[in-house]
Amino acid sequence: MSELTVMEATRQGLLEEMRRDARVWCLGEDLARGGVFGQYAGLAEEFGGERVVSTPISEAMIMNVGLGAALSGTRPVVEMRIADFTLCAMDELVNQVAKVRYMFGGQARAPMVIRMPHGVARYSAAQHSQSLEAWLVHIPGLVVLAPGTAADCKGMMKAAIRCDDPVVFLEPRALWPTKGEVPEGEFVTPLGAARIARKGSDVTLVTWSMTVPSALAAAEAASGEGISVEVIDLRSLWPWDRTAVLASVERTRRLVIAHEAVKVSGFGAEIAAIVAEELGDLLLSRITRVGAPRIPVPYAPPLESEYKINADKILTALRRTTQARASSRD
């Protein structure tokens, strides 16, 4: 094991795949200068300007050029700078990238990775902070990943590059500087498999991406209050690991879902619906979702903290859900 930041682990995943496969290349703004946040540091020096391409600020073209190149024998990694800017390329992502294989009757594959740092970070306000995963999971044809640890960011970046489907790689921007254990040597993290981040027996807490540390902190605090929380880091949102979630809830009979995105029509709603459909009769308390209010992300710290979920808000939900233990349903 070595200790790496989330950003460095992700960079290593890309670096290893570029060394392994000459068809892998990346395109996006400022990449030859290491990327806007340094995620591409050193890659242009090693692979040159034809494989690490600095582009104009032309999101639609970045996406569709990536697609045309993916259809023509290469495996591009498309950098959107931040998730919010993907909206300038949404036609290309949704109408072209996600659909080419299907609407052309299987003639084509679009093996490409679309990187989108997402979420609240550095007081970036309404147009640089969104979590739009629910939009993306809704689109047939896309794989949507949302890892939340250094090891998963590396292993899933490698898996995404090797995947023949278009893969949206949501990056936990706020976690980039945080460190985590990363296995030495070659490893690829399977897509669609959740990770049990903490074992527990009273309540299942499902989360992903930048919310993983808050979920673990809430679970730790809850354990001090005698609540045993099983934390499932979903890692992959499409496909998502229904089997792991259902198996856990079958044991704990309680479910809390926590995500940074707006709660209304967030991806937590899908998980809640599936668990209700499959295990509704078994539940000891109502399913609880923790998510942002339906407001744009504000700038000033006191306003931003009103938007952003944290360990305290998750802990409150855990308490409420488990207090139902004493209710007549138990």
């Binding site: 494989r51 104009p56 073209m61 109408n95 299907y102």
Partner: protein, 328 residues
């Protein structure tokens, strides 16, 4: 022109004429089949615009790629797509180029470098550029063509694409097939400045303007610009004004234009004009007639093939979405 040059011109022109007659016959048969209720969706016909598709694609090799538009039957045929499979696709049948998943607006044939018609105006521009960028990365000697209409020049990806191809000096030919109308509206009413070619020139892309109803002129200009692409001199822009003799869709009776206007443009029909030019070069009077009867036989066979092809099994709707996370 020397005798040898005239003879070469005749050979080239005959090939162009044959392609254009095949495109016309395909679309007339498709229109008739639609009238009989055999084509479930709509059609965007390129009748009157065949010289652009034939002229540009006559300069392409099989490995070269094109990206097309919602009005793309002609481009596909000119690039070598199989007309039986195309017709079956319009019918929504298993024998179709896309096995009935796409229909007219998504005809693609990757085996001949046809990277797809496109239901989004300007949607093919970036795809064609990406194909060119991949060719460079892989060290392959290919060029890429994007066809688009006059409506596309007011979309952002047009500007983004021109700039991208220029700064990376990619082997891309932009072909603006200006049929006068963006859907139901005259493009002249919605387009400012010096027009499509002027915009390309402003970005530093050499452009040529030709009569889009003159197949020879289209061919010659495309050959010049593609020659530059092939020798590494970067992108080119071909502006080819033509005229859409039919409506935007098959349901469009074009109430927004006078019948006299259409009739005047029928006098400039590219097929008739090329036939005339070839006669002057000494084409046998039976030449065009023979192409016509061959094309009718080919398209009759295409319709028969399409009608005989089974509907796809309903379960096929769940196939070819994605490998990871495929529908259950």
């Amino acid at each position: 022109m020397t005798k040898a040059a005239e003879s070469n011109r005749l050979i080239l022109g005959s090939a162009l004429l044959r392609t254009m007659i095949r495109i016309r016959a395909f679309e007339e048969q498709a229109r008739a089949a639609h009238g009989r209720g055999e084509v479930p969706g709509t059609l965007h016909l390129s009748i009157g615009q065949e010289a652009v598709a034939a002229g540009v694609c006559s300069d392409l090799r099989r490995e070269d790629t094109i990206a097309s538009t919602h009005r793309g039957h002609g481009h596909a045929i000119a690039k070598g797509a199989d007309t039986k499979a195309m017709m079956a696709e319009l019918f929504g049948r298993t024998g179709g180029t896309c096995h009935g998943k796409g229909g007219s607006m998504h005809i693609a044939d990757f085996s001949v470098g046809m990277l797809g018609a496109n239901g989004v105006v300007g949607g093919g521009i970036g795809i064609a550029i990406g194909a060119a960028q991949a060719a460079r990365l892989l060290g392959e000697d290919r060029v890429s063509v994007c066809f688009f209409g006059d409506g596309a020049v007011n979309r952002g990806p047009f500007l983004e694409g021109l700039n991208w191809a220029r700064i990376f000096s990619l082997p891309v030919l932009f072909v603006c097939e200006d049929n006068g109308f963006a859907a139901f509206t005259r493009t002249s009413e919605t387009t400012g400045g010096p027009g499509a070619a002027g915009r390309a020139e402003a970005i530093g892309i050499p452009s040529l303007r030709v009569d889009g109803n003159d197949a020879f002129a289209v061919h010659d200009a495309a050959a010049t610009l593609l020659g530059r692409c092939r020798t590494g001199e970067g992108p080119g822009f071909l502006y080819a004004p033509t005229y859409r003799l039919d409506g935007h869709t098959i349901a469009d009776r074009t109430p927004y234009r006078a019948q006299e206007e259409v009739a005047a443009h029928r006098q400039r029909d590219p097929i008739a004009r090329l036939t005339e030019a070839l006669s002057a070069l000494g084409m046998n009077a039976r030449g065009a007639v023979q192409y016509e009867s061959e094309a009718q036989a080919e398209m009759n066979a295409a319709v028969a093939f399409a009608a005989a092809s089974p509907w796809p099994d309903a379960r096929a709707a769940l196939a070819d979405v994605q490998d990871v996370g495929a529908p259950q």
